[in-house]
Amino acid sequence: MTVNQISQQVDARGLSCPMPIVRTAQAMKSLPSGALVEVLATDPGSVKDFAAWSRATGNELLESTTDDAIYRFVIRRK
């Protein structure tokens, strides 16, 4: 996945549960099916939460990486 394919970025750094999920869900509403969203978060709980949320909603979690205490997720909208 290249960066230029990402339709929207959600900066949830500094936000605690459940705001990274809530902000991502809100951002996704306006996007077409298949669009890619990149989420940056600092909440360690978001690793498990984004996996669970993707299973619950049917959105596809393409990437879940950690870099210097920043969690990065790439999700494809259902």
Binding site: L15, P18, M19, Q26, K29, G58
Partner: protein
Amino acid sequence: MTTETPVKDAPVLPFDPLAAAIGDVEGWPDVVVDPVLDAALQPEIEGEIGTKQLVIVNWSGELDRIWPTLILASTAAASGVQCKVFVTFWGLLPFVKDGVRITGENWMQRMLSFMQRPGIDHLKMSKMNFLGMGPWMIGRLRRKYGVASPRELLEAATLMGVEFIPCQMSMDMFGIKREDLIDGMGDPAGAATAIEIMTEANASLFI
């Protein structure tokens, strides 16, 4: 290969002898389905709302209880779970509008709202309230750790389609009118509605 396929698209209309007589003479007009108009006439299906349902009975108006209520409600909505919150008894007070300080008609109702200030920004804690010291410290910790406030969560939940249903009985008893409550709340209802939505839901909580 001349298999006759039954005509499925013919509209089923109630029998009208006059129309049938005219139809016999003039021939039935071809029904042309306009795809745009047809789509417009279909009931709108909420794409974001799934089939799973969560019901929360929000009984408590305390900070440490309304917080999980709103966190779960907003997360449910974000996860495509249809969420309804039945707002009853003390739980009603945080849903009073910002500008409304004293609610009620008689002295007892007014005294009650004076003692327990309504509104989402004026929540007490179920323990360690210490005349407001507890909520103040929790507020400081909340900002330090980037936790969303009940107000932010309530706005997010309302925006994402969480349905808040006020309890009519509690409204009557506290003297809280429909216009005292925040915009976007559902129609007031009673225990039978609560039972109906709770038994239909996949999960229901009493907080």
